[in-house]
Symmetry: C2
Subunit: 301 residues, 2 copies
């Protein structure tokens, strides 16, 4: 079994009320893959970087048994970079710049030996690239799709084509409202279930996450944190933890997806505690098990 | 055992995107008492109404075994009335008017035979009136205090005096932030635990509720509703259900308070589905048990 993860790999500039960080390792494929690596050893990353991308990062991926065979490196090219500033309340952010670099002409190429990957995570990238991935993989057992407000805004048609071909859609509450025009997330969930996926996972940040299927409503709280430093990548981390657990257990039942939501939430809780990937750079099994255990007690009555 | 409930009784004007209602039965004591009445038969209501208050409402209270011995009726007086309009998103509202009427000179008088009530709910009224109640009751087993942004704004000193003398504080997330200056509700909770109460319950509306004590963090989801018509009284209903369960079981342990939060949430979910008290006017044990059962499945993984 293995998880194929396709997304962006970036060198970001981050600014929050708690500090700044330049040349910060980021991108959806990065966060997804690192998160998944705490649950499974079979991770296949597809993305693109420029010549400026430090070898140390590639070595780090390898150290976390993330296979970077699908990580294209363009000589003379510049790695995708996003600069963002979070406001005091950490709920809103301004994009300071976006330098597409090598990402501008990126077309994901899935290595032949990866085409039969059982689990596929379409990280947050343009829906037309997600479609290119779907055209290359062969009968995956489960496809999870993450997306964002930008694609709902500018590429709704392609996104809807993607949705027809995925099993699980992961997005946040604002995006769910944008995509459906429904303010109420349960009504939004019902509409999205008619767009293709059989399971919808709505991330609500500090308010937790909701998993919806035809017959199931599962509501997970967020891990109770006294604060956080940088929310960048939390959603990607959630998605990576989610699919990582499903691959590890080779069980795509909705019942098992409840646990997957909790693993996603545990990993996201570590992610936001530090800048960039620092919060999830090196976690022990015990740290993850401890927070998973706390989740069990949080909602028990 | 019995629950003493002190608060306002009102005839409100309500306007939401779903309709309007005039002369709507309302007030904190009203919602608290009705909610509690689904869990215990020993409810003692203290409040004040004018001559215009329909006898049918008093009869309804009696039909729900709510003892109105402490409900003062002022001949020639006018019942307290609040007029409010909810915005399209239902999260914000404008006060159209407030007519204090007989409430202006209200001073709660606890009948002698009620002074030894074991459970006391200080419904949302001016903190100085809540203090007057505390001065009259004799060694209650548990005092729960509800409050609102208005009192944090204009009567903070009196509110802080109240807090020193209560066991449980119930308030919403915005109020918790106002009271403590902390944006993070867990940090806000820690600060409030130093103000007197040993348990803090923070209501987060559609995002559920959080119960915090020195050693416990309990997070309850909100009941998944596809929509709601009128949020008025939901917080009072929550508090009434909360204390009603504690009285019924005569168990004030924090473990039992988890269940109390869920009963409060169940009753609040019915409250918001209709205008005024209509959603909780007549519920069956089965309806309540059914939603309580659904709560058990919502967060299980």
């Amino acid at each position: 079994m293995s998880v194929l993860i396709v997304g962006s790999v970036a060198l970001d500039y981050l600014e929050t009320p708690f500090g700044k960080m330049d040349q910060a390792l980021g991108g959806s494929a990065t966060f997804c893959s690192i998160a998944a690596s705490y649950l499974t050893e079979n991770i296949r990353m597809v993305g693109i970087v420029g010549e400026d991308f430090p070898q140390a990062h590639v070595d780090y991926f390898a150290s976390r048994h993330i296979d970077t065979l699908g990580l294209e490196r363009v000589e003379g090219g510049k790695t995708f970079s996003w600069g963002g500033r979070y406001h005091e309340d950490m709920n809103t952010r301004d994009t300071l710049y976006t330098v597409l670099g090598v990402f501008e002409h990126f077309h994901p190429v899935i290595p032949d030996e990866w085409k039969k990957s059982e689990f596929v995570l379409l990280g947050n990238i343009h829906p037309s690239l997600q479609l290119e991935v779907l055209d290359q993989v062969e009968e995956p057992k489960l496809v999870v799709c993450d997306t964002m407000n930008l694609w709902i805004d500018i590429s709704l048609k392609e996104l809807k084509q993607v949705l027809k071909r995925v099993n699980v859609l992961v997005l946040n509450d604002e995006e769910a409202r944008m995509l459906t025009g429904e303010r109420n997330i349960f009504n939004a969930g019902k509409k999205m279930l008619r767009m293709g996926p059989s399971v919808i996972v709505i991330k609500k940040g500090e308010h937790g996450a909701v998993l919806l299927s035809k017959d199931t409503t599962f509501i997970a709280p967020a891990f109770p944190l006294g604060g956080f430093k940088d929310p960048t990548g939390a959603g990607d981390t959630f998605a990576g933890g989610f699919i990582g657990w499903l691959e590890r257990t080779n069980d795509v039942s909705v019942a098992n997806m409840r646990k997957a939501v909790v693993y996603g939430s545990v990993l996201a809780s570590f992610c936001v505690e530090e800048f960039s990937i620092e919060g999830i750079r090196e976690l022990s099994e015990e740290q993850i098990a401890e927070r998973f255990g706390i989740f069990r007690t949080l909602s028990t009555f």
